[in-house]
């Protein structure tokens, strides 16, 4: 059958994905979070000529997860702790530093990072660069001077709070969430005034309605999410106060609906027997009024999560033709292995298909909105439950997908891992790990540990799948040259054909890649592709953390699946920028 005309394909709402100006001012590229670049100089025919244009070492050796940010011919990079920010001048040969900002770092914050001392990048807005620090601050820098305009301390490491996520900017507000689900924090998302750093609103992800900013406007689609103070009553007494539900991931914004989408991570502790109940509002998504924080609707991906299936993965806003009508949806490939299409006006499930190997959930019941869990994979005190798939890290973790309006495909980087899990008693001590599980991960069925798949949003089916030996822990980038870029944990940076998945080009960077590729138009009018190389993150923690490969429970069980990584790559943060030779 002939390819459908582009007009028939899903596409992001225009208000949330304006015409490409060749810059890349926020990690997800736009409010719809498509990570799609309209630049098309680099394509499947000429990609073989791509070459390194320049490189820049970050001076750090932990996981480099940040997206490089490009605005006004300057590139901004945030490093892992101590969260240095570099501004590079793209108008000069070799892109020399314009300035470097070194926040005064609290070294002890490294001790409350669950999954390597990472940072997912910053945002450019009106001559300011916004980013978060592991020790719980949001900082706005003046891009001309590299000096702080304001610094707001949000997290408290003595309670186990840290921040690793990239701030998200809506109108004149900076949205920030806290990390610390493995330390018994009480999760929240907050909005700061972008000009002053003052807190405008703060929404907790557990506790009484007033703290969660649930009020008369709140209309969740499914009945179990309706009622008073469910963030208290779906927990044992007091447990919600140390119940996790952090937000260390991605958001999106629909300007037409004026809805902010923000998510909550796993409930704590991992030992679910210590917290009977649905544990609202963890592992779910809120639609909120960004001006007030007021909740509009909510959907819970994983009620009473037994497997650490944080709900913070990326949210991509699309308008999809369904049964002859355009439906306003959001796509969310959850850790639990299902790709959700939710109505973004109401929170109703439109569809939910597994995109990886899942045996912990049998199906998603579209009527109740609840996953039908496999009781064989329930976790228990004193019992090792074997071969739960996916792992605690999910069928995919935080590494974000991209969407091309030219193909209608979602490009999902993900994992193929399973685990053995034993509950143990967790005891809460502020600022220390509050987990309650012994976990050992291993490769999933087929033995490969990662995969990049192209997903047809309309049919709910994969179009192509690329198997990778190691977990696919980098984001993907889709371009109008019909290429998809991603990196591997042993350092290959690849360009594949967006339609077929055929490998068009690859380059071996210095360290494993777990970053977010971007594209931008340089001052010379050429298209450039940038990626940070630097292994780490949860999956790669064995390398920069110098963990013992003989202890499979290391890194909360990830070492079990990654004992060989030290022989495949070494640590080290470096920016790589690629282009075609000038013609």
């Amino acid at each position: 059958s002939p390819a459908p005309a582009a007009a028939d394909l899903p596409k992001p709402p225009a208000s949330a994905a304006p015409p490409d100006d060749g810059q890349w001012t926020m990690p997800a590229k736009n409010d719809a979070a498509t990570r799609y670049s309209a630049l098309n100089q680099i394509n499947g025919d000429n990609a073989k000529n791509l070459r390194v244009e320049f490189t820049f070492s970050t001076g750090t050796t932990h996981g480099e997860e940040a997206a490089p940010i490009v605005a006004d011919n300057t590139m901004y990079i945030v490093t892992p702790w101590p969260n240095w920010v570099y501004a590079l001048d793209l108008t000069k040969p070799g892109a020399p530093m314009k300035w470097k900002y070194e926040p005064p770092p609290i070294a002890a914050s490294q001790g409350v990072a669950c999954c390597d001392t990472v940072n997912r990048g910053g945002v450019f807005w009106q001559n300011k660069f916004y980013f978060n620090t592991l020790d719980g601050r949001t900082i706005a820098l003046d891009v001309n001077t590299g000096k702080p305009v304001w610094i707001t301390q949000l997290g408290d490491i003595s309670k186990g709070e840290s921040i690793t996520m990239a701030p998200f900017l809506v109108k004149d507000k900076v949205l920030v969430g806290v990390s610390g689900g493995e330390f018994g924090v009480r999760g929240w998302t907050t909005a700061l005034d972008a000009n002053t750093g003052k807190i405008v609103w703060k929404a907790f992800h557990t506790g009484p309605d007033k703290d969660v900013l649930i009020g008369p406007d709140f209309h969740p689609f499914y009945t179990q999410d309706r009622g008073k103070d469910l963030g208290v009553s779906t927990w044992p007494p007091e447990a919600w106060k140390i119940g996790g539900g952090s937000n260390w991931g991605w958001m999106a914004y629909d300007p037409d609906l004026n809805l902010l989408y923000e998510e909550a991570a796993n409930p704590g502790p991992w030992n679910a027997e210590q917290r009977p109940g649905d544990n609202l509002w963890t592992d779910g998504i809120f639609a909120r009024d960004p001006d007030t924080g007021a909740a509009k609707w909510y959907y819970q991906y994983n009620p009473h999560d037994e497997h650490d299936y944080d709900g913070i993965n990326e949210i991509i806003l699309l308008d999809v033709p369904i049964d002859g009508k355009i439906r306003k949806v959001l796509m969310h490939p959850d850790r639990n292995g299902y790709l959700y299409m939710l109505d973004r006006t109401t929170g109703e499930i439109v569809s939910a298909h597994p995109y990886g190997y899942v045996n912990s959930i049998k199906t998603i019941d579209k009527k109740t909105g609840r996953p039908v869990v496999n009781p064989d994979k329930n976790t228990k005190l004193g019992t090792i439950v074997h071969d739960i798939c996916p792992t605690a890290s999910g069928a995919k973790d935080w590494e974000p997908s991209s969407f091309s309006p030219r193909t209608g495909y979602l490009y999902i980087p993900h994992e193929n891992l399973c685990m053995d899990w034993e509950n143990v008693q967790a005891n809460y001590i502020a600022g220390t790990p509050y987990v309650g599980a012994n976990v050992v991960m291993k490769p999933g069925p087929g033995g490969f540990r990662g995969e990049v798949s192209a997903w047809n949003v309309e049919t709910g089916k994969p179009v192509w799948q690329i198997r990778e030996d190691l977990p696919a822990w980098s984001g993907t980038l889709a371009t109008a040259g019909d290429l998809v870029f991603y990196g591997t944990m042993d350092g290959w940076f690849k360009a594949v054909d967006a339609k077929t998945g055929a490998l068009k080009w690859q380059f071996k960077t210095g360290s494993g890649i777990i970053g977010q590729p971007i594209a931008y138009r340089g001052p010379d009018g050429r298209e450039y592709i940038a990626i940070l190389s630097g292994v780490g993150g949860w999956s790669g923690a064995i390398v920069p953390g110098a963990l013992d490969p003989r202890d499979p429970t290391g890194a909360l069980g990830f070492v079990g699946a990654m004992a060989d990584l030290k022989l495949k790559t070494a640590a080290g943060g470096t920016l790589y920028v690629f282009a075609l030779p000038p013609s």
Copy 2:
């Protein structure tokens, strides 16, 4: 005048520079230490097409000074402390690791490194890879397994001994010298049996003749070096026991003469008023029988050194037509700013010309063999002597020159710095700094801090000079493509025309370059150029050492000259390998 025929040009003795096999098995390429590659695919015409072929992160963030070593299609890299060794398989795409060796490191050794925790690389010989560790060990690895064949502990960090130099292999012996001139060590060079690691001989650089291996065969050219136990009598009582004269630099070997050339660094402490006398055998060069260590001749570059002018710079063996005869010489650009041509059979000075700006020495008296020092630049207790040139780090430091037999030029990477110096009392406490001087360095005349010069060995004159903003702290590589490669401390890797110095190509690596470039023939028959990027060393210590740019005395005075370096580059070790696109 027409260019002289190649036959008339200086050239290394054939026995010390055999025909190029396309490998690079020792840092200086051959026993004559020419650092010249006969590969010529890459030349001035096509160098503009050079591109990064692959990269490899070392996992460390201190100065990367090692030469990559290539043998049997495998590349070996030694990192700064903790001195990891990587073997990379050049036959596979992206050159994946064959193995990684992690020595059990003594962390406290970092505290007795004067000038960053560097390592200058290893040597390949008969399926073993030899290297030294900062904590004083020489290790032989089986290249097939990456496991140690033997480990010999040579240095004792409790006495301030460390090792940073690359071992030098002569016949079946591994030659190693100790670092620690700034910690009051008693310097030595030792020979180990390459098969067993057993010590064959050990020659101290101070003390009684028997310890220095001075016996009946010793015939120094100049009278002041003749006499009994001068290594005792040229010092105040007992001072020779803590008098420095380490060997952390370069050696060379003439198979025809069966002479090993090895050198001694500065006397300690820097405060020369505490050690009246010539302080033999520091700051000089020995010719020895490599089988027994017996000294044959000696020449002292800097008697009673007042300025830390270590004598350990590179030694390049050449046969030079002089007055119609071929003279067997060695070239040594000393820290004191003079390029020495010594008769390598006798130790007589053939010529000595300044190759940088020098005001601490007026001339070298060829009759006495002694420098005529400028009394205005004598250092004194309680007095700041201003504008001494060159600095303690020399007109050049350890970064080695190369020589092309096609041009007859020596390519000298060096510095242009001056200093203010005040002697202070030094008190010896084993294992702690024993220096006795407050030093502040600054740019030399003209304001530029570094230079690469091509030196006509026959005329004793510079042919071209390239000024660099920052000290030229990387080695140079000369190739038969008539190119000279070197790196800058802000990360540019450059290829210049060997005849004119014209820039032919440059690439911005991730971090400042202070390494040793090499060339090799890949398994595919192509010519490859490799360099480690990673700022550090003494001059760059401010970056990986995170020193305060406001204290100019930091890093023994180097911060004074390098306060801006943190804004020019960031730390991080990465291997870059370049080639032309396959044709």
